[in-house]
């Protein structure tokens, strides 16, 4: 039920007692401001950590060869390990459905040119599965296909920024670019959430690169994703198995850590997830602490406010105010001041986050912001807090005998 007269009384009491209202509002505004900033920054930190993995599939395993550090089976230490196509085939075929996607990579660096524009780019020669591993989003044309590999076609898929750099706002698809003297047809253009560097890459079929640049079957790195149905522990034991098998395959000592390096993202992401969880819990505790401090603050101020108004309340009672009408009036005033002030603090906090958000990138804070859920939650908490903060002293004031309230001190 909306009682216009009651609200008029409340508005008058708030606006005619500006200093009092401002003081009580300030505590709440400040608490909510801190609360918003804290949560915003926590979100920003979380965004940064999540960003580290956005680029790649979370169930990735990267396998890189290195040099041996221990002598083993008659080989001396310092031997360089070289992966070849047969190793890729072995990993792909010998582990059944444990492997979801798999690709080899050959790295090259070339000066690329189109008409008068040139620039140096990293080239990745890959298998078609690479698209899923790297979360490459082809938005024009297509990705490298199995047929390309078979025919060793001279085709490339270029990043959005490569197109921007070399083609000067014209369409790259279907045109030919020159990589170290050889013409390649652009069959696709892609985006990648991993950042600018990822969009300054050129992909080509691995067979083509092996044929043209060295005429061998060398592979620089093998990436795969494990079957996502596997649990964290299963995934870990799978990468242990891979390490063991590969060490045997290349006659590497079991204790040699650098000859074959298998990196399982599950481990890294688990660590970071744990860290963000700890961080979030910490921030929630601090945030709630601030909020509670704010609520205690408003409760204290309401006690003071009601004390200051004791005489007024006594007059109102002498004129026929019922205890209920007094409690309602004070509670609603408290709710109104709390909500308005809290909302103000929230807006200022959100504004600040918006303003300084971008300059915090170097402190590992990306896009600090608060969610709608949090805003709704905070608003509800504010209203409840205001009601409680107002109720206790209002109830007490309403039960004072009018004669006590009216007595001059």
């Amino acid at each position: 039920m909306f009682d216009l007269d009651l609200w008029r009384e409340i508005f008058q009491s708030i606006s005619k007692n500006k200093l009092r209202s401002l003081l009580s509002g300030f505590t709440v505004s400040f608490a909510i401001l801190l609360f918003t900033l804290l949560f915003g920054i926590a979100n920003g930190l979380e965004n940064t950590f999540n960003g580290f993995f956005k680029d790649d599939a979370q169930n990735s395993i990267f396998i890189r060869p290195g040099k041996t550090t221990k002598p083993h089976k008659g080989f001396k230490a310092g031997r360089k390990i070289q992966f070849k196509n047969e190793d890729y085939e072995y990993l792909k075929n010998d582990f059944g459905n444990k492997v979801q996607y798999i690709t080899s990579r050959v790295y090259k660096n070339f000066m690329a040119s189109y008409k008068n524009e040139k620039n140096t780019y990293s080239i990745r020669a890959v298998h078609p599965d690479h698209q899923y591993l790297e979360k490459t989003l082809v938005y024009e044309g297509r990705y490298i296909s199995a047929k390309d590999l078979e025919e060793e076609s001279k085709v490339v898929v270029i990043g959005r920024l490569v197109e921007e750099d070399l083609f000067m706002k014209t369409v790259a698809l279907g045109k030919y670019i020159n990589l170290g003297g050889i013409q390649y047809k652009v069959v696709g253009v892609y985006r990648d959430d991993g950042g600018d560097n990822e969009e300054r890459m050129i992909y080509m079929p691995i067979s083509t690169a092996q044929k043209i640049y060295g005429n061998n079957d060398y592979v620089d790195q093998i990436n795969m994703t494990y079957n996502p149905a596997m649990s964290y522990n299963e995934a870990l034991s799978f990468s242990k198995l891979l390490t063991k098998k590969l060490k045997e395959r290349f006659d590497v000592a079991p204790k040699d850590q650098s000859a074959v390096r298998v990196r399982n993202m599950a481990e890294a992401s688990k660590n970071v997830n744990q860290m963000t969880t700890v961080l979030s819990v910490l921030i929630i505790i601090i945030g709630m602490g601030t909020l509670i401090a704010g609520i205690v603050g408003i409760a204290n101020i309401m006690i003071f406010v009601v004390k200051e108004r004791t005489k007024e309340l006594g007059i109102r009672k002498a004129l026929g105010a019922t205890p209920k009408s007094i409690v309602t009036m004070i509670m609603l005033e408290s709710v109104l001041v709390t909500s308005l002030a809290g909302y103000f603090g929230l807006l200022v906090g959100m504004g600040l986050l918006e303003l300084i958000g971008d300059s915090l990138k170097e402190y590992f804070i990306t896009n600090p912001s608060v969610s709608t859920n949090l805003i709704v939650g905070a608003t509800i908490i504010l209203i409840i807090a205001g009601a409680i903060a107002g109720y206790v002293p209002a109830k007490r004031a309403a039960s004072i005998k009018p004669i006590v309230a009216l007595r001059d001190e």
Binding site: I315, A318, L319, G320, T322, P323, K401, L406
Partner: protein, 233 residues
Amino acid sequence: MLEIKQLHKSYPIGDSSLHVLKGIDLSVKEGELVAIMGSSGSGKSTLLNIIGMLDEADEGSYVLDGVPIKNLNEKKAAVYRNKFLGFIFQSFNLINYKNAVENVSLPLYYQGLGRKERQEKALFHLGKVGLKDWAKHLPNELSGGQKQRVAIARALAAEPKLLLADEPTGALDTKTSYEIMDFIQELNDEGKTILIVTHEEDIANMCKRVVRLKDGVIMEDKFVNQVRAAQYV
């Protein structure tokens, strides 16, 4: 109008208690104008507050307009205060952030009247005390006499049966006091029952009946020849 029998009231002070009213018998008829006198601390205010339901008696009976006032809950007391009683205090007790007309409207707000009706009635009563032009002024922009007249307008606004005034002229100079008394006499002429607590003999003589308290009992209760205040203003 009101009937009080063997009324007792004590205040606890530390471990002991102070027996302020020790068996008051008082009966007031409709249309009376009664002055309650007595030395300071004799319990005048205490008696008036009990009559006004701002405070409760410990013992004895009190019937107001045929309604026994005993163990009233706060809500009922509020309704009676609002409907039957008008208060005028020595220190005016206006709400300082409300202007004159808003102060006068307040009892009407608690009667549940609509905004327009409140405004009209409040202005009418302000007019009766001669302050129509001061309706929009805050209490601190008014003189003591004007404040007391606003307070009287407020007490009248609810059209109470009984008007209770605790030293209404206590904070005013003689001339202003007589103006206020003139006004109170007019109200009484119109038939309103009025009880006034006062220290001053001249004010008491402007009433029709004087009740003197001493040591918690009524020492004297007599009718007097009313002195009209109009001749002094």
